[in-house]
């Protein structure tokens, strides 16, 4: 399927702007269509579920009911992992029983049948249609880029709600990155939590969560982290500088790991300029990495060629010496034969 009802989420035009811009860039090129749900409202995220279970069901259901009415037949896509989980939790509740569905209708005071499915943008992008369309548009393979694919928690947990990929070792984003030529690294923090809103409420306790994610990505040789959620992205990208200041003060090496949305990297592989996909407004500088890695790759190629030439020269030199020795040996043998005949 290539057409969805879109739930933009509250960060779409603000802190998650680059996600929106890069999604639009890629979608337009591959014929992937997103129609915004008219008059959608905030999903409530963990603030709602920590306030009241009823609220956590009701807030997402209103947007889903509007989508059902205004965009019938379309499944709903949410780019943000937090929105995705909230919407899908509400949907799962409504689908559990007729009684639940009736309760949701009463809460939102609207007709609603819980018809449309909810998927994350990442899930929509790993469908066969979208993947083959992406493959057709790649003009600049990101061959030299080692990426740590970071899914975060809300994309996969709780598994019975999210129903997406492996809960401990998801592969979808890794496969997307392979499709555009990048090299995903094996690492242990794919689904580790970024701290979400706790980075604001309890920064002291929550900051180490981010530091460990960077640490593990670096330890496994990643050039960058690829994200699929605007809050994960903000927590990593915006707070990297602060974490680096603390590391320097402790005498540790600072990180130099840019973070990207998977859609930004797909955009780059289509030949986009960094600014066209929102990479120019990252907090940690992210525009140079690909260029630097491409230069590294060219230099490595040159070095490789030089090494090959050197090897050929050495082989030829040895072969020449062998030939020389053989000739000398043959000559001596001929001489001693002559001697013997005499």
């Amino acid at each position: 399927m290539m057409k969805y009802a879109n739930f933009p989420g509250c960060s779409a035009e603000t802190t998650g702007k680059s996600f929106t811009v890069s999604t639009k860039y890629v979608s337009e090129r591959i014929g992937f269509e997103l129609v915004d749900i008219p008059d959608w409202n905030c999903c409530g995220t963990s603030a709602a579920s920590l306030t009241s279970p009823e609220l956590a069901i009701a807030l997402p259901a209103r947007s889903l009911a509007i989508a059902e009415r205004e965009l019938p037949g379309l499944d709903v896509v949410a780019a943000c992992a937090g929105c995705f989980r909230s919407l899908k939790t509400s949907l799962a509740f409504a689908r559990e029983s007729d009684e639940n569905l009736e309760h949701v209708r009463e809460l939102i005071d609207m007709p609603y049948n819980a018809e449309a499915n909810v998927v994350s943008l990442l899930e929509a992008f790993v469908s066969d249609d979208v993947r083959s369309s992406i493959a057709e548009h790649v003009t600049r393979e990101l061959r030299c880029l080692k990426v740590a694919c970071y899914y975060g928690c809300a994309m996969v947990r709780p598994a019975e709600v999210c129903d997406f990929d492996d809960v401990e070792d998801p592969r979808s984003m890794d496969e997307l990155m392979e499709l555009i030529g990048a090299e995903p690294v094996d690492w242990a923090f794919k689904t580790e939590c970024c701290g979400a809103a706790q980075q604001m409420a309890i920064p002291k306790q929550a900051r180490p969560m981010i530091e460990r994610i960077f640490e593990n990505a670096a330890a496994n040789g990643a050039d960058c982290i690829v994200t699929s959620c605007p809050l994960c992205m903000l927590n990593l990208d915006m707070r990297e500088a602060e974490i680096n200041r603390a590391r320097i003060a402790e005498g540790k090496k600072p990180f130099d790991i840019p973070c990207y949305y998977f859609t930004e990297l797909i955009g780059l592989s289509f030949g986009a300029e960094p600014a066209e996909v929102g990479i120019d407004i990252h907090f940690h500088p992210a525009e140079m990495l690909l260029l630097r890695r491409e230069l590294d790759a060219l230099e490595a190629q040159e070095a490789d060629l030089a090494a090959q030439a050197e090897e050929r020269r050495k082989k030829a030199e040895i072969a020449a010496r062998i030939a020389q020795k053989k000739a000398e040996k043959a000559k001596k043998a001929a001489e001693s034969e002559k001697e013997a005949k005499r």
């Binding site: 509250c10 802190t15 609220l55 947990r157 709780p158």
Partner: protein
């Protein structure tokens, strides 16, 4: 785990702990205290009770210990505990249920976490969507952490990620009514 005088625990406490578990969809007897939840918790080092201990104290009916604990308020709701529990105990939803019960009892062991969520919902109630810049400003004001993330706010302004404009959902009155209805239903459901 500390020693606990069980003689101070009343029938009402035990009942209240069971109600919290029911609210969370958990059968407390399922937990055999293996500690896998704690092992995987990315915030355990900052908690006063380990996730495993929250379940243990609920089993024991130690209501006050649980309601006074910072742990449920430090929890980021990432659900790695529930996901890895060999007994399918939903520890994550238990944290939510404890938090809601604590708040009803007038307790908020980590005020910042409570202020953040209240401001978040107030923001959504007023506008239908969350306006991050105002949420952050109100949070700083009410929590007393006036300068938190100020540098980042400047960096966001520079990148035109945030501005002064407030975004509103057209049907924000509808959303406000929905929030009131849901919170009312929640009270009624007690």
């Amino acid at each position: 785990m500390r020693a606990l005088d069980l003689s101070g625990i009343s029938e009402a406490d035990i009942r209240a702990c069971k109600e919290i578990a029911t609210e969370a969809g958990v059968d407390l007897k399922d937990c055999y205290q293996c500690g896998k939840c704690t092992a995987g918790c990315p915030l355990a080092e900052g908690m006063d009770l380990m996730p495993r201990e929250v379940i243990r104290f609920l089993q024991l009916g130690a209501l006050d210990v649980v309601l006074d604990a910072k742990t449920p308020w430090i929890c980021a709701q990432c659900a790695v505990c529930s996901s890895r529990c060999p007994q399918n105990v939903d520890i994550c939803s238990t944290m939510r249920a404890v938090r809601i019960a604590a708040k009803r009892a007038g307790k908020r062991p980590v005020p910042e976490a409570d202020i953040f969520d209240d401001e978040f919902i107030a923001n959504v109630r007023a506008h239908g969507v969350s306006n991050e810049q105002y949420l952050a400003a109100m949070y700083n004001l009410k929590s007393g952490h006036f300068t938190q993330d100020m540098g980042n706010a400047t960096r966001m302004l520079k990148r035109r990620m945030v501005g002064v404009a407030i975004h509103n959902t057209k049907g924000r009155a509808e959303v406000a009514a929905l929030i009131d209805r849901a919170l009312g239903a929640d009270e009624g459901g007690e």
